[in-house]
């Protein structure tokens, strides 16, 4: 298809949400998605789907399509001009029950301004409570292969973008082991809309095989109360990133977005301990030592 429109792209995103939800229910084995349909007064709406299951303690797979007139505040936040806009996308955060499983996030989105300007954005990043080098290598390798099918520059550029974006500045640590992040992919460098969307679709379609692999590797591992406590503390950092630094969250909360859909990214339970310390040479210490932009899991 060479003639993607706002409508056909929207339909594709809806289908992606359906397929991902179906795969995750099968993988979880117990949880079923509960759907809330919502309408945005100013135009558009969404399908918020939440799962509370066996593998996934709390997860959301959201689709939305919103349109209207961009307020001055929103235009400023998006570094664009006021005007009419159209935005659609799928956004996922899964918090697993087991601390041996990573938190995963994926987002793919499409944006239009004044019926003429368009761009794609998105990303996937992984936040293991305990970094497992083999899993980290698998994850980055999978994303690299996805990127390499489209352009040799994509992976190095979008990996660095993720390292810079998913960074908790006040902790001087990355949220997790990164992944890829991209935005404003439009007609620059001779790319067609079809090419940019084909890449975005491949990113969306990479979510299920990646998460299935990580679940198969880790879901049945035993864990202790102490490891569960560590998970609560790592989730605390996740909350800090999302509420303090995540541009999507801030934009949503400041522009009167649907709060419950935006904050589905927060975990069921999180902990904070003043000046929390880890044992030297522990798996917790290994994880902390590798939450930085320099870690290279592909080597």
């Amino acid at each position: 298809m060479n003639n993607w429109t706002a409508e056909t792209i929207t339909e594709w995103f809806k289908g992606l949400q359906d397929r991902i939800c179906g795969s995750l229910e099968t993988l979880d084995g117990k949880g079923k998605f509960q759907e809330d349909l919502w309408v945005r007064l100013e135009g558009g709406g969404g399908r918020t789907r939440i799962i509370e299951g066996d593998l996934i303690e709390k997860g959301g797979v959201n689709f939305s399509e919103v349109h209207g007139v961009l307020s001055e505040q929103a235009a400023k936040a998006l570094h664009t001009q006021p005007g009419t806009f159209f935005a659609t996308g799928v956004s996922i955060v899964l918090h697993p029950k087991s601390p041996m499983m990573p938190i995963i996030h994926m987002n793919v989105r499409y944006f239009e301004m004044n019926d003429s300007i368009w761009w794609f954005g998105g990303g996937i990043d992984l936040t293991p409570h305990y970094i497992v080098p083999e899993d980290a290598k698998f994850f980055h390798q999978y994303l690299k292969s996805t990127c390499d099918k489209h352009h040799a520059d994509y992976h190095p550029k979008f990996k660095k973008w993720a390292d810079d974006y998913f960074f908790i500045k006040h902790r001087k640590e990355t949220r997790g082991i990164g992944g890829i992040f991209f935005d404003r992919l439009a007609g620059q460098d001779g790319f067609t809309k079809a090419e940019r969307f084909a890449f975005t679709q491949d990113v969306g379609d990479s979510f299920v095989p990646i998460y299935e692999h990580l679940a198969n590797q880790n879901r049945d591992l035993p864990y202790t109360d102490q490891e569960k406590d560590w998970q609560f503390h790592r989730r605390g950092r996740y909350v800090e990133f999302n509420l303090v630094w995540d541009r999507g969250t801030k934009f949503g909360l400041e522009t009167n977005g649907r709060t419950e859909s935006i904050l589905m990214s927060l975990p069921a339970q999180a902990s904070w301990t003043y000046n929390h310390q880890v044992e030297p040479n522990s798996r917790e210490a290994f994880t902390l030592a590798n939450l930085n932009k320099e870690a290279d899991w592909l080597k």
Copy 2:
């Protein structure tokens, strides 16, 4: 004393911290404050004191005195001009173990710019997990009496300021039942520095009797696991306010403040449930229904 200087005000704040910590240890009966002294490379430092006790699950009573050159970013955030600055104050957040006890926050501070401009700021606000009208009335009455000793305009003005400040915009609910908030109290309206500081001192000194009264009323009340769960969810909202909207927290995190001292305000554990609902006519519903700016507990 009619000749308050940055140094003598700083000493008074240090003494306030000492007195409050002593009273809270006595009140708690078990917890002892652990102190971290820290130095700010660019000038000044602080005394962070954390208690984990019987009454208070996690609490911080912080003193700091920082000075230097205000960065352009920091000056902008403070709506002032770049230049040399001096800032000192005491900041408190106490998260009780029991959901029948409220979360309390108090802050008093003094600021100087370019050795000439000066102002005081501060506030106290209460976040009950369960609103108790008699406690709410006591709390607001105490603050009103404190304000009325200094100026008839103080209480109406500073109460409204608190209602507007401690507001979780994306939830359209107040953080708790409010209190008082004030900032930039300088020589306007013929006030002297001594008068402004005397008021700030009275606010600081009101903290212990207020918290003692609330503890005596509520600390021994029984509670259920379900009520504890409600506490975790209310704490989630507290986290949302502090990380998304609290100007002090944002300013600290964005200007490279001491993260552990700033985030001592976060609770030991917090919960989020998608679209969390309460039973009609329950105490939880009563509390939610009264988390708004219109609630008037003095009548």
